[in-house]
């Protein structure tokens, strides 16, 4: 596992959240993926954390020294993938 020393490195590309911002959220008390999400928006963009969630978990582990179970994953929210209002209103959803 590579260490996250470069605070300017982008972690969440959808919401443009950096390593530094995630470390700051941990300083403010975030202890899991959801806590990071609420404070930084990491994982709240178009891909809903599919790309960055693992990176966020790794940074949490590096900063807190916790084991994966305690860090958790973010709460899965519908829809499974983006769906237009038109399709949703038509009653057609997955």
């Amino acid at each position: 596992m590579s260490a996250f020393h470069d605070d300017d490195m982008l972690v969440c590309r959808c919401e443009e959240v950096t390593v530094g911002e995630i470390k700051e959220a941990i300083r403010q008390g975030a202890r899991d993926v959801t806590g990071i999400k609420r404070r930084t928006r990491a994982g709240m963009g178009l891909c809903q954390g599919r790309t960055c969630e693992r990176l966020v978990q790794q940074i949490l582990r590096q900063e807190l020294g916790t084991v994966p179970e305690e860090i958790g994953a973010s709460t899965p929210r519908p829809p499974v993938r983006p769906i237009t209002f038109g399709t949703l209103a038509g009653g057609d959803s997955e």
């Binding site: 919401e15 403010q28 008390g29 609420r38 709240m44 929210r77 983006p82 237009t84 038109g86 949703l88």
Partner: protein, 396 residues
């Protein structure tokens, strides 16, 4: 754990604000929160600070005074809670709705609040994506928005600067009273905290905390669901709601909408608001379904249907996320901000239904005045806990 002057239970927007205002009065404050800061209703809601959806009188007064405080705190606090004052619009579907809206806006304007009617031409000029056939609406100039979770984080950060201690992952398990029935200690997993005062700010869970001192707090969860759009161009420029929203919130508004069965069944009223991250928050419904925080596909369908009715271009915009939250509902639609006569040292700041973000700032300030025994900024007898006892005696 050591002793504190005051223990605040719950770190949603209300508890966070109460903690900040108490610390500002020089009290030694502990906040105990079952989960993380803003992990309850304050992380699954809209972001509006409004007076336009309040009833004339104390309801509107609370909203207005709170917005004024937020405006001040946005300058003072180091944590940015993304305060933006962009006004709000209520849109009307029919002439009949306009009629009711006119009466309402007049009553508010007569009380000195910045509310006025907009005609068909004007609403489309400021919000070009509204459906062509909408007939007009109400413009409320002072209405604003802020990011709810950030509001909680901001109050907590400021409270900490003033010496408050915050314990997360620390549920309250019980409350000890002394032989005179006065609050003596808060019992938690991490030990006992000696304190003379406990402020119950546990939102929809405040009845559980009330039971710990043997009182019955009449707050019920009233669920709401939300759809979040992808980041887009400006679909709307500010908070917009359908006037029928008043109808879904209050029972005594005398008007029935022509809507589909699905919309009626789930008590859906259209609201939309742009966030500073270029997404839109689209809602919402009001239903009593217990403590269920799951999204329901039928409700999501009704929300989408109603949204397209008012903003047709949403049809081709993506929903990337949905969530549900629980509004702390009280039968008279007013929060409880009060001491409890039967249990000296026990206080309640909860029950803000769909207005907790709007009213958090003023609620914290008023509660701090109650606790230190100062006169409150204005008369808040209507927010007292004893009002329920009186209502009971009156009906008996």
């Amino acid at each position: 754990m050591k002793a504190f002057d005051t223990v605040v239970v719950g770190a949603g927007v209300i508890g966070s604000s109460v903690a900040y205002h108490l610390a500002k009065k020089g009290l030694n404050v502990a906040v105990i929160e079952r989960g993380d800061i803003a992990s309850g209703t304050s992380s699954s809601c809209d972001a509006s600070l409004l007076i336009c959806d309040k009833k004339p009188g104390i309801d509107t007064k609370l909203g207005y005074e709170s917005i004024m405080l937020y405006k001040k705190y946005a300058q003072e606090f180091s944590y940015d809670f993304e305060f933006a004052q962009r006004g709000s619009i209520y849109v009307c579907e029919t002439e009949q709705e306009l009629e009711v809206a006119r009466e309402y806006a007049k009553a508010q304007a007569d009380d000195g609040y910045p509310m006025r009617m907009m005609d068909k031409h004007e609403i489309h000029e400021v919000e070009p994506n509204l459906a062509d056939d909408l007939v007009g609406g109400i413009w409320t100039e002072c209405d604003a928005s802020a990011t709810p979770m950030a509001v909680a984080f901001a109050f907590i950060e400021e409270a900490k600067k003033l010496g408050a201690k915050v314990f997360t992952q620390c549920p309250i398990k019980g409350i000890k009273l002394d032989e005179k029935g006065h609050v003596e200690a808060a019992i938690t997993d991490k030990g006992e905290i000696k304190t003379k005062r406990i402020i119950n700010c546990a939102g929809v869970w405040s009845p559980e905390v009330g039971k710990m001192v043997g009182i019955d707090i009449p707050i019920k969860p009233r669920q709401g669901q939300i759809l979040i759009t992808e980041r887009t161009f400006n679909i709307v420029n500010r908070k917009i709601q359908e006037f029928g929203y008043m109808l879904s919130k209050f029972e005594d508004v005398n008007y029935t909408r022509k809507v589909s069965e699905l919309v009626e069944k789930h008590n859906v009223a259209f609201v939309i608001e742009p966030t500073l991250s270029d997404n839109c928050i689209v809602g919402s419904c009001r239903e009593f379904v217990g403590y269920d925080r799951k999204n329901d596909i039928e409700v999501m369908q009704a929300l989408a249907e109603r949204a397209i009715r008012f903003v047709p271009i949403l049809k081709d915009v993506n929903v990337i996320r949905a969530y549900a939250g629980l509004r702390p509902w009280v039968v008279d639609h007013l929060p409880i901000v009060s001491g409890v006569e039967e249990v000296p040292g026990f206080y309640i700041a909860a029950g803000h239904e769909g207005d907790g973000i709007s009213m958090a700032a003023i609620t914290g300030k008023l509660m701090s005045q109650i606790v230190v025994g100062e006169e409150t900024d204005f008369n808040i007898d209507k927010l007292s806990f004893s009002r329920f006892k009186k209502a009971k005696t009156a009906t008996n």
